[in-house]
Point group: C2
Chain length 136, copies 2
């Protein structure tokens, strides 16, 4: 797999507006986009920190994946997304290495990226996303 | 606070050697350093992913901070470190904004960086490290 950088860090929060204020007022980052992802039942806020995005995730429904994460683990880092070249091949290589994957094939994610998740059981507790921006 | 990028992501693991194999063989990253930090009771392994390091943390003692984290939360992301300019001022600004900090003053951390931690109670569940490389 050819990993180029950390594309983003997803952080589950209970109150998106309060968390945005922390990252803007204290950490000095600029929130450049707020977006609802209906099928994931989340409202997200994006910040750039160098080449990496901070993606805050607030659940919009009690039965969504972020709601379940918050209930089980509380607020904190939800996933890490690695930018890779050739996501289809990268995912196949992970599967050949015995890694359990959540997605069998890459799919479209936020901001038009191609994405696929590896299961945290296979990745030492870190929900790991692979992503590729094919428009670049 | 002037944040330039994500300096590193600290990940607590039970078995450093197994986790190194995952990040090398599957994620395609290169482990460039393994270091024991005696006062933190951890053995660490470092990888570069773009401008950000992955720092794996294995506890060397049952009563160390990483051992306690693993016992409470299991394997996963332990902290996120943001590179800032002027860490002393950045820490003061955080305190003035009502953020609870673990360190009252910056101190020396791994790789000779000046570091200070913000308490996860004030930072939406993410143990947040500020760091500055004054040699740069």
């Amino acid at each position: 797999m050819q990993t180029t950088h950390i594309e983003h860090i997803g952080i589950a929060v209970k109150d998106l507006n309060k968390a945005i204020r922390f990252y803007e007022d204290v950490m000095g980052l600029h929130c450049y986009n707020i977006e609802e992802v209906v099928d994931q039942k989340v409202r997200t806020a994006f910040f750039m920190a160098g080449e990496t995005k901070i993606e805050l995730l607030e659940s919009t429904s009690g039965d969504g994946p972020v709601a379940k994460f918050l209930e089980k683990r509380g607020e904190g880092v939800h996933h890490i997304a690695f930018a890779v070249k050739g996501i289809g091949e990268a995912l196949s290589q992970a599967q050949e290495n015995g890694i359990q994957t959540i997605d069998k094939e890459p799919r479209k994610g936020a901001e038009g990226l191609d994405i696929a998740f590896l299961h945290p059981k296979s990745t030492f507790g870190v929900l790991t996303e692979l992503c590729e921006n094919k428009k670049k």
